[in-house]
């Protein structure tokens, strides 16, 4: 059970949060089928350092960027949207 630092609420238990997505820019609708399929279905699923979008679904409801290590479970930092990374 990870301890996740919500940028608004502070450190909270993992069950309060929901993983949302790997950060990705939404392609425009004129992209090829292949590019669109990548956006929909392909995940990098890194072993090690990883950037993920999480939401504090059971708390403030806000989405944020979480930098963490999927191998050691170390949490590096959590960033508010738009916060310089």
């Amino acid at each position: 059970m990870l301890l996740i630092p919500c940028p608004w609420c502070g450190p909270r238990d993992e069950p309060e949060f929901k993983f949302a997505a790997e950060p990705a820019l939404r392609p425009t609708s004129d992209v090829s089928d292949a590019v669109w399929a990548d956006y929909l279905y392909l995940r990098t699923n890194e072993k090690g350092f990883h950037r993920e979008v999480w939401s504090h679904a059971g708390g403030c409801g806000q989405f944020f960027l979480l930098e963490r290590d999927t191998l050691t479970h170390t949490i590096h930092r959590a960033l508010k949207p738009g916060e310089p990374s």
């Binding site: 301890l3 993992e14 949302a20 609708s29 992209v31 669109w36 929909l40 806000q62 989405f63 479970h73």
Partner: protein
């Protein structure tokens, strides 16, 4: 074995009567069930799992592999797998042995042991595979397992607590107490957990002086000084998880308290001190499973804690110093003790033992045991001449193969272990963040070192939190340096029935076979032989097992490594893990404002998407099916009243609300006029239909969305996600007002007449309030809204008022409608009405593949030029395939036959799709169905074969709408 006249921490003035296999016995307050059995000379406490061999107590605490019993408490509670060493004795307990018939002394299945050579590791995998495992399964399952569960409900109450602390100290032995003492003195918030009822750990049975006073005094003083600390006796830390999260099981049951008898704590600690001690491992030699062969450490605990001397003529066999304390204590208690030490030169401990009358035999090991129903003799042989043993009479063989530090929690938390060759033990390697070690877990046998380490750990935790410990560390006289251990992993004789795991009946022979069959990885060994599974979790069997594997595969122990320890350290009942989350609290349901009225009106309540709602209203003499038919018919004949309060009501407000919702919805919503309502689909980015519902525009900058009852939370989460992550520049806010309003639908040809009797300032004329429009105003003096939307296909009015006034309006509408024969109808009746109209039910008629085109809703894609969620996915080759399954109606050839949902629609034996909804239609007087059929819209009129579980019938494909396709009834 006998109870000594004095000694132990038991209350000899309080006798507790209990039964064992029907025999009346007694023990004392302070006994465990195991110590009471031992005091009553009960030698056999169970039969082994696989070979049904008689087994006695080996251990005294969590490490006990054999003493699993069936236990009934006088208050009706029952545990088919009670661990006798951990259960405090209570008056009136009824205990009996398991895994034996007719009883554990005379077990018919004990014959299995004679065929042991045919039951090697992997026996089941190798034997019961022809013709198939299923052929044998039921008979094997009958023989397998320990104990029988009673079918009645669990009488125990459980609870869960969540806590956060500066420092969690696991283990209240000398090291843990020193850590808690130091940290508390610096002002830290400390939790101290120990699985025993009494504090002090090994100090309870090993007398020492600390700070120039008896250790028991020091323990009492230390506890008294732990200001504000949370003390958790009888609490086992069973799991260590990420970032110093821990699971604790607190046993709170006493004879007087059965409320929350077990409580699980989930603790998040800034720091943790693992002062978990060490567990003695057995020696492995032929016949080492005979009742009367016990852990030397356990024998000492029985003696000192419960005043029970486990034998009179005792052999102690060891390869290290720790068993000497047991030998001396037994000799002091009057037993005749000889000690076989595998080491050629045991050193100073031998002299002490000899001075207490213990006969010490250096370089000697046990090579065989004998005795029916318990130990009678031990063969001891010099290590240099195993073939010429001396037979020694003994009723107790106390063994010690060295100490295994209890590294479980460190390993569970992701910590690595390293093999320490001189100590012959796995020690925790680098500490995880916020983790400290103190005491025997570090491999030290020294009390002085344990106290110093504990104090240092508490001080380090304090330092990390910016505090300073000024208290002096507790001191104890330095002990004589121990003589190093000489590893003795097994005895190298042809007889390999040497038990490594007593509970799972894994012998040296099984490990040898696994190695021979190339199960060379320790993880494979574990799974192939079941070594270390169940209660053991590596407590006693782990190191001996992998040392044997190392020997048989010619590798070093460090290279073989160990299996990963996983939670839980001790068995935790499912009830304790569930806590209060069972029964009504397992998944709490929401009640409608008019819940009580529904019950009073005879509603059959069922759960729909988290809400308890009326399925229908059953009258005397009716079946549920009758009620559904009556209600659906009445709604078309006169009028029906329906509680739609659980329908979602999400308000979206802000200058960019229109632009945002237009991005979200498949349908155009920006051009919706205030006061108007539109039926819309909401898609996932994959194009799949996620939800349907009506969108009302309350004002130019304010919308009201009505998602399905069960999707409201999901729709809100989805909208929030899109807003925050992709469209944060749009200015708007969301508000879920579902629970604030009660909504009732009056539907049917006479609904207008009923509404006419209502006192309201809202103009109800069709010009002012046409279909798919709403007006706000006052209803019977209360602020509210009336909308013309219809889920039945009939003229309908949906009335919304503040939830608190819902029941009053409900009763009022019933009264107003009495003259017009208003009939209450529930969800199941509505489902019939909507099926007649061919209205989809998301998740019933659709699935995770359904696109809008499959439902025939193609206009928005053609006409809406702006982007929206899922748009691009509707333009892929797959979305444009002509043979996609379409939503169509099906009319069974036999009008009285209602085909099952899920029936396949076949042509020439191939499935072309399936039925998604079906019912008897009272309006049409026949059965109808809806379904998803390949290219269905192009095949209307075609006949298909309906196949379900071998039954075949026929149906004709039609348009989904079975009734009033022009929609005249909406205005009727």
């Amino acid at each position: 074995m006998k109870r000594l006249p004095g000694g132990g921490r038991i209350d000899r003035t309080r006798t507790l009567d209990f039964t064992w296999d029907g025999r009346k016995l007694s023990g004392f307050q302070g006994d465990t069930l195991a110590s009471a059995l031992l005091a009553n000379r009960i030698r056999i406490v169970g039969r082994s799992f696989k070979y049904h061999r008689p087994r006695g107590l080996y251990g005294a605490w969590t490490e006990e592999p054999n003493g699993i019993v069936d236990l009934a408490w006088p208050d009706g509670r029952h545990d088919p797998n009670a661990r006798s060493t951990l259960v405090p004795l209570e008056a009136g307990m009824a205990a009996s042995g398991v895994n034996a018939w007719p009883n554990i002394r005379h077990d018919a299945l004990g014959l299995i042991d004679l065929f042991h050579r045919f039951l090697p590791a992997g026996f089941y995998y190798k034997t019961f595979k022809s013709p198939s495992w299923e052929t044998f399964e039921s008979r094997i399952r009958q023989m397998a397992g320990l104990g029988t569960l009673r079918p009645d409900a669990d009488l125990l109450h459980y609870d869960t607590r969540h806590a956060e602390t500066d420092l969690l100290v696991v283990g209240a032995g000398p090291a843990g107490l020193a850590a808690a003492r130091a940290a508390t003195s610096a002002g830290l918030r400390v939790m101290l957990a120990d699985d025993r009822a009494a504090w002090g750990g090994s100090l309870l049975w090993q007398p020492h002086d600390i700070d120039s006073a008896p250790a028991t005094d020091w323990v009492a003083q230390t506890l008294a000084g732990l200001d504000g600390a949370t003390l958790l006796p009888r609490t086992t830390v069973f799991g260590a998880y990420d970032h110093n999260a821990f699971g604790l099981l607190e046993q709170r049951r006493t004879a007087a308290n059965s409320w929350a008898a077990e409580r699980v704590w989930m603790v998040r600690a800034k720091h943790v001190v693992l002062a978990t001690g060490a567990i003695e491992r057995p020696l492995v030699f032929p016949g080492n499973d005979r009742p009367g062969v016990m852990s030397a450490a356990a024998v000492l605990q029985y003696l000192r804690e419960y005043g029970v001397c486990a034998g009179h003529e005792v052999v102690v066999a060891t390869n290290n110093d720790t068993a000497y304390a047991t030998a001396v204590a037994l000799a002091e208690a009057g037993a005749i003790v000889s000690l076989a030490d595998a080491r050629p030169d045991p050193g100073p401990v031998a002299l002490t033992a000899q001075s207490h009358g213990v006969r010490v035999r250096p370089a000697t090991i046990p090579v065989a045991t004998g005795g029916h129903h318990g130990l009678r003799w031990v063969d001891l042989a010099p290590r240099s001449a195993l073939g010429t043993p001396e037979r020694v009479r003994a009723d107790l063989l106390a063994i010690s193969g060295g100490l295994s530090p209890a590294v479980h929690l460190h390993s569970q938390a992701g910590g690595k272990l390293r093999w320490d060759e001189p100590l012959a033990a796995f020690l925790p390697d680098a500490a995880r963040p916020g983790q400290f070690f103190a005491g025997a877990i570090t491999g030290t046998p020294s009390l002085a070192a344990a106290l110093a380490q504990g104090h240092a750990a508490g001080a380090a935790a304090a330092h990390a939190l910016g505090r300073t410990v000024t208290l002096a560390a507790p001191r104890t006289p330095d002990a004589v340096a121990p003589t190093p251990i000489t590893p003795l992993w097994f005895v190298d004789v042809p007889d390999r029935r040497q038990w490594i795991d007593l509970q799972n009946d894994v012998t040296l022979k099984d490990v040898a076979l696994a190695a021979q069959e190339n199960y060379a990885s320790v993880e494979h060994l574990k799974r192939y032989t079941t070594l270390g599974m169940a209660n053991d979790q590596g407590k006693t069997s782990n190191v001996n097992g992998l040392a044997a594997l190392a020997a048989f595969t010619g590798r070093a122990i460090a290279d073989v490594g160990t299996t990963t320890f996983r939670p839980p350290f001790i068995p935790v009942s499912l009830g304790a893990l569930a806590g209060l989350r069972h029964g009504k609290l397992f998944s709490p349901v929401r009640h409608l404002p008019s819940h009580a009225d529904h019950l009073a009106n005879g509603a059959v309540m069922r759960e729909y998407g988290g809400w308890l709602r009326p399925a229908c209203y059953q009258r005397i003499g009716e079946t549920v099916a009758d009620a559904i038919t009556r209600e659906a018919a009445a709604a078309r004949a006169s009028a029906g009243l329906f509680d739609g309060s659980s329908l979602g009501k999400i308000e979206v407000a802000g200058p960019d609300a229109a632009a945002f919702l237009n991005l979200m919805y498949y349908n155009e919503v920006a051009n919706l006029k205030p006061g108007r309502i539109r039926y819309c689909l909401l898609l996932r980015e994959t194009g799949v239909v996620y939800d349907d519902g009506v969108v009302a525009r309350l004002a130019p900058d304010r919308y009201l969305l009505s998602p399905s009852s069960s999707h409201t939370a999901g729709v809100l989460a989805m909208l929030r996600a899109w807003h925050q992550t992709d469209f944060p520049h749009l200015k708007l806010a969301f508000h879920d007002t579902t629970a604030a309003w009660a909504t009732y639908a009056v539907s049917g040809p006479r609904s207008r007449d009923i509404l006419a009797k209502l006192t309201t300032d809202i103009d109800l004329s069709d010009d002012a309030l046409p279909h798919m429009a709403f007006s706000e105003g006052r209803i019977e003096g209360l602020p509210g809204r009336i909308a013309r939307v219809s889920f039945t296909g009939e003229r309908s009015y949906e009335l919304t008022i503040p939830a608190a006034h819902g029941p009053a309006l409900w009763r009022h509408l019933l009264a107003l409608g009495a003259a017009d024969d208003v009939t209450l109808y529930g969800i199941e009746s509505l489902s019939v009405l909507r099926a007649e109209k061919g209205f989809i039910l998301i998740g019933t008629d659709t699935d995770g593949m359904t696109l809008p085109v499959d439902l025939g809703v193609t206009a928005p894609l053609r006409n809406k030029h702006l982007d929206f969620v899922g748009k691009r996915s509707l333009l892929t080759p797959d979305a444009l395939r002509p043979d996609r399954r379409h939503f169509v109606g099906l009319l069974p050839e036999d009008p009285s036959f209602v085909p099952a949902v899920g029936s396949h629609a076949r042509v020439d034996g191939r499935s072309h799709g399936w039925i998604t909804s079906s019912c008897h239609s009272p309006a049409l007087g026949r059965s109808i169905a809806l379904g998803m059929i390949e290219a269905g819209r192009a095949r209307l009129g075609e006949t298909v074969e309906i196949f379900h579980l071998g039954h075949i019938s026929r149906a004709t494909l039609t348009a989904p709408c079975h009734l009033d396709p022009q929609g005249a009834r909406l205005h009727g």
